[in-house]
Assembly symmetry: C2
Homo-oligomer: 437 residues x 2
């Protein structure tokens, strides 16, 4: 059902790597298809977009403006959300806003001894595209997690795209878009939606950055348009790593492992624990509880293919292993959880203490649920307001400063063989400003 | 010599686009070569690295550890730097440090009404690779601009790679590496260096992120390894846009345009000005001064292929055009320069007032000279400390909090059909923690 490993095994690290391994290489045939679609969208705009939407989503739309889902429709969806869900959504929105407000960066500057003013100006990205997968894998919570930081950053135009295969529209997704303050929604998807956002068509505005998860075609298209527009990380399968001291109820841990494994067959659930009896207990709970779960088939596959219960020597070794794994979600389900946090260098989100189940973070704790996967937490961060803001350096040099700094710049420019750089600095030193006035 | 445009011309925007156009598409043959090199490095490590270094750099090294340039050699280079240059380098280092210190992010957290603690933990990236081009295009200033923010972020291991074709080592680059606190240097380059940093070899440590500019092979290799490691932006040709009211000495503006154009034939220099007489004056100065410049051949090519002097109606229109161009470097060389800054939404660095020549920013003003090119300032930022720090969300839920938030999470999880998510939250509400203890 689930792999068992022990860190004292001499082959432990190679066994661990083979469990972690995930081949993200894109299929060559996918790449070819995506190249063709992007080229068609770039050259033919709306015409190509309509053709591909007819072909892939079986959506028979006669004019491109009908691809837009009007705002009245989202508002109607929002008003139809059952009261309990509506309240839950609204509390989530408020908590996500409260957390992300704290990530906002502001313009700063300072004066140096020459009275030069140096600083950094913060501006939002003008136009952002948000991809939302269609059908059953489209989650209203993901709409909120992407839209709210963009809007807090001050993005004036947030364009959502989501395919509606055979006309199926997820009304909870529309409701979330209304709550998340999205500006426009188009019923388009796949590489053709990414191409439309990146290059613009007659109907779909060109954006500056595209965020949001998608299937292999969407991921490949995002890679291809990177540079023309900004993109967020390409998401791999979702992962949880639980460090447990054996003092959390075993069924809580089993269910936390399930909550990751139920996403899809490639999702990864791993526990590290120094207590062999507890590991056995968790395995028993897994076996007992799995049959009660509606998504039992997915659970079985992901747990047996990519799950593991790992015996470690102690909690400090568990933290070392966690840093190697650099997990998307890390639960530290121990009594002294707070003390272990300083030992963790790489993780998307750290859930501290046995009450902090990942599921709370997925919906309503406040922090973002879009997190770096596949060991990329070694160098990247959760999605945040900072992904929708950008910086410009501010350099305001005084007359005095241009003399002091000019000498240094011209020395270094000459040593690099860049004489025009040197002269440009030297001209300010020579003071021809007042002469020539 | 240089294109002249006028914003009242009905074809102005299409003429402007054709001047801005730059095809960054990578050659298919480059892509093939890079794929092969990366595969070889991944499979054969040091052996492949030695082979490619022999082949491309004509470096006959018999054992891989000889690819490392020992620290004593950098220190020797630093001690041999002439006094004036050494002082200039040291002042630059201090000014770059002073500015970048202000970019450092710190861990934060807050308590909500449930006594949950939510926050964001900041950690440096563990290992960073810094690519420095070999030969004449290798600039000591670029070593400082990359190394200093990494070290301020707290990166413990900064590994520089730079090819030494035919054994040529730029001693100013080694000196800058010593001043910039680089940890190790390897005399390797090209796609084989990028592959070695991304996958690791027996001799070169695997890193988590690779930064620094390089030729088309290096750029292609960086794109390919993105995901396995983080990368910075892929740099295009350098650009300057000058907004001038006609009150700056014309020869200053001509030289500022030169200081960009001298980089290479693809570099771009554009001026926007409402004063036709001044535009004529600048053109005269260009014609007069260009023959005094040692890099006159490069200047002629870049100015005639990609340069432009553009007549605009007024300074506010100039700012609108600047936002379309989203230049790497923007000089606002006007009397009321500070008042125009709020109108600028997209630029890598904004040089304010006639004394703020780009050349000062390139070396010693303090802000970074690694800036977004090719319109990517619409969605990206100068290189900074933030590129070497990453964030982890902190989520510490209280027992009380797990009840309040658990209800919301389980409502939303059930609505998304993720029952294990819901149960995982529900278990905490049901309070089996104390029962099971």
């Amino acid at each position: 059902m689930i792999t068992r490993l022990d860190s004292i095994d001499p082959n432990f690290y190679s066994s661990l790597s083979s469990i972690l391994e995930f081949d993200s290489n894109e299929d060559e045939s996918i790449e070819k298809t995506v190249n063709l679609i992007l080229k068609d969208i770039k050259n033919d705009g709306d015409k190509a977009l309509l053709n591909y939407t007819r072909k892939f989503d079986r959506l028979n739309v006669d004019s491109p403006d009908k691809l837009e889902i009007p705002k009245e429709e989202w508002i109607k969806s929002l008003n139809n959300v059952p009261k309990q869900q509506r309240e839950a959504l609204e509390i989530s929105v408020n908590r996500i806003k409260e957390y992300h407000e704290k990530q906002r960066a502001f313009t700063w500057s300072y004066k140096d001894s020459y009275d030069n003013i140096l600083g950094q100006k913060i501006t939002p990205i003008d136009k952002v595209g948000l991809y939302v997968p269609g059908g059953k894998a489209s989650y209203p919570s993901s709409v909120l997690m992407n839209a709210i930081p963009a809007k807090i950053a001050g993005v004036p135009e947030l364009i959502m795209v989501s395919p509606t295969p055979d006309g199926y529209i997820n009304s909870m997704v529309l409701a979330a878009a209304a709550l998340g303050d999205v500006d426009r929604i188009f019923a388009i998807g796949g590489a053709q939606a990414i191409g439309s956002l990146a290059y613009g068509t007659e109907t779909v505005n060109q954006v500056d950055k595209i965020v949001g998860p998608g299937n292999a075609y969407v991921a490949c298209a995002k890679r291809k348009v990177f540079g023309t527009v900004g993109i967020d990380m390409i998401a791999g399968p979702s992962e949880i790593l639980i460090i447990c001291d054996g003092k959390t109820p075993a069924e809580w841990i089993a269910m936390d492992l399930f909550s990751q494994a139920e996403h899809d067959e490639l999702a990864q659930s791993i526990m590290l624990c120094p207590d062999m009896d507890f590991i056995n207990e968790v395995e028993d709970q897994i076996k007992k509880l799995i049959h009660r779960m509606p998504r039992v088939d997915i659970l079985k596959k992901s747990l047996s293919n990519r799950g593991a219960l790992i015996k470690v020597n102690n909690l400090s070794e568990a933290c070392d292993i966690a840093n190697i794994i650099a997990p998307e979600h890390l639960e530290i389900s121990t009594e002294n959880a707070t003390e272990l946090v300083p030992l963790i260098r790489h993780a998307g989100a750290i859930f501290i203490g046995c009450f902090s189940s990942e599921s709370l973070g997925d919906y309503c704790a406040g922090p973002n649920h879009v997190l770096p996967t596949s060991r990329t937490a070694r160098f990247s961060s959760p999605l945040g307001v900072y992904d929708f803001q950008k910086r410009s350096s501010l350099i305001n040099i005084s007359e005095k400063g241009s003399i002091g700094l000019g000498k240094i710049a011209s020395t270094l420019a000459n040593s690099e063989g860049l004489q025009a750089h040197a002269s440009s600095a030297q001209y300010r030193i020579d003071g021809k400003y007042h002469d020539s006035k």
